[in-house]
């Protein structure tokens, strides 16, 4: 269970996040949407205890991220926007190192690394340097490090950004598998991804929550794309024509995303 309550964060006089509240029940997957610069990454960084909020509170599995940050960090796996890889390390030693940082000791650290290498199908590259991997593999190693201590909560910041279509499908399948037994917050620009993986969606815009709804509760006959444009695009976009077939939309959003790297 993750509860975000009236969360605000300002950088100087600029409010990146301005009083947002939402919650995710245990075992559910939340799609976290919004345009670049809406405050998604800031919110995720606060949830994972990387940076403090200016005001408001976040609890993860009942622990406050500010007061019980240590307990929260033990329970969260986090894949930041740029996978946190030590480029001069090979994949296997890197994962063993992360396992130790997460508090796994002795031979168990190697076992944990072996197990995520299987989960994320990294066997072929286990001996290669992180710096020599393709973007898709880096993303998968990033996902592996987030999973290594078997966290109850996964926070994934744009996990499919910059990947080719085949890699996107693979990562998406992996996330769907992971989401079955964990609480997941997934930020993305690819709307069909949310429809495929998540039960719930939160759209934020300019630091505020524009929509919080279960996907099943979305008004009948209205697609997620329409819903997104209604809340993010403003009045001008209300007149968006009827949606094209989903497949076309999928591609349009994938391509669009590659042109505009993350915020």
């Amino acid at each position: 269970m993750i509860e975000v309550c009236d969360l605000s964060k300002s950088y100087g006089s600029v409010a990146a996040v301005d009083g947002i509240s939402f919650s995710v029940e245990s075992g559910k997957a939340l799609g976290f949407l919004g345009p670049n610069g809406a405050g998604k990454t800031t919110t995720m960084r606060i949830i994972t205890g990387f940076m403090p909020a200016s005001s408001g509170s976040v609890t993860v599995e009942g622990f406050d991220v500010f007061d019980d940050s240590f307990e929260v960090r033990r329970r969260i796996g986090y894949l930041p926007e740029h996978p946190p890889l030590y480029l001069e390390m090979a994949v296997f030693p890197y994962l063993v190192h992360v396992a130790r940082l997460k508090g796994i000791r002795g031979a168990a650290a190697r076992d944990a690394a072996d197990s995520v290498i299987v989960d994320c199908t990294l066997g072929k590259v286990a001996d290669r340097l992180c710096g020599h991997l393709s973007k898709g593999y880096r993303q998968r190693v990033g996902l592996a490090q987030a999973l290594i201590h078997k966290p109850e909560v996964l926070v994934l910041d744009e996990p499919t950004v910059g990947l080719d279509p085949a890699q996107i499908i693979e990562i998406r399948q992996l996330i769907r598998r992971l989401a079955a037994e964990r609480t997941v917050i997934l930020s993305t620009h690819i709307l069909p991804e949310v429809a495929q993986i998540c039960e719930k969606v939160v759209i934020i815009n300019e630091g505020r929550v524009a929509l919080e709804a279960d996907l099943s509760d979305l008004p009948a006959g209205r697609s997620l794309e329409e819903e997104y444009m209604r809340h993010v695009g403003g009045e001008a976009h209300d007149a968006v024509p009827a949606p094209r077939p989903t497949a076309t939309h999928d591609n349009a959003f994938v391509e669009g995303k590659e042109d505009t790297p993350g915020a």
Binding site: G49, M51, P52, R74, I76, P80, P84, Y86, L101
Partner: protein
């Protein structure tokens, strides 16, 4: 403590899979060898000159004063330049390559991170100084230096280097740019070297303060072979103070704004 060792071990390995560890070590040993060779050659020349003169008093000439003490002084200046190159990566690189997020979202205490980074730097300077022990060993094989004085001198150099690592780590904790980290550490260390210059003309409380803060004043005693608790306390408190500042600098990212 185990977390600190995990971090230290990774940092140490990363220093020696990149060229920086080898470049710094090679450069340090090359310069140390050059200093040693020239100081020893000069000593030999003077001894030969004096022994040619009848009735000349040569008892004041010894390897400790003529070779070891100046060698240590020269090495201390080299360390001022090289230690910032070793420590510049410690925090700045984690910030710039995004692994800071891994460290700070892992269940680690700030002091474990700071200690781990410090231990990694200490391991590198320990290796550097241990390798220069070959010079006193050569003197012991071919000459007759005072072992106690040499030990005190090298201990002084070592404590000083440990202090430099703490300063370097602190500078690296303030920025994501390694060049900025290296230059600011270099400037602080050079200032600590020359801070006592105006002491002679300064009034009393100021004079005592400048002399106490200066690295040179404390190191000079130890390089001559004198171990004084004041000097040990000085290096110990400098290390403590800079580790504390590093801790605050790193922790400040978690302070509520």
């Amino acid at each position: 403590m185990r977390n600190a060792l995990t971090i230290a071990w990774r940092d140490l390995r990363s220093t020696f899979v990149s060229p920086i560890g080898y470049v710094v070590l090679t450069g340090f040993l090359l310069l140390a060898g050059w200093f040693f060779f020239n100081l020893l050659a000069q000593f030999n020349r003077i001894v030969a000159l004096y022994s040619g003169m009848q009735g000349a008093d040569t008892t004041w000439m010894n390897l400790n004063d003529a070779v070891i003490t100046p060698l240590l002084s020269n090495l201390s200046v080299v360390l001022v330049i090289l230690v910032p190159m070793i420590t510049m990566r410690s925090f700045a690189e984690e910030r710039s390559q995004g692994t800071y997020e891994l460290l700070f979202t892992s269940p680690l205490k700030v002091h474990e991170i700071v200690l781990g980074k410090y231990l990694a730097g200490c391991a590198v300077v320990t290796l550097m100084i241990a390798l220069t022990l070959v010079y006193p060993a050569i003197l012991m094989i071919y000459g007759n230096p005072e072992i106690g004085l040499m030990t005190a001198g090298f201990l002084g150099l070592y404590f000083m280097a440990l202090g430099f690592v703490a300063v370097g780590n602190f500078c690296s904790a303030l920025t994501s740019n390694q060049i900025v980290a290296a230059i600011s550490a270099l400037v602080i260390l050079l200032l600590l070297f020359v801070v006592s210059w105006p002491a002679e003309n300064a009034g009393e409380p100021m004079k005592a303060i400048l002399l106490y803060v200066s690295v040179t004043e404390h190191f000079r005693n130890m390089a001559r072979g004198v171990i004084d608790t004041t000097d040990l306390v000085y290096f110990g408190s400098a290390i403590g103070a800079f580790l504390f500042l590093t801790h605050r600098a790193v922790e400040s990212a978690r302070w509520k704004a």
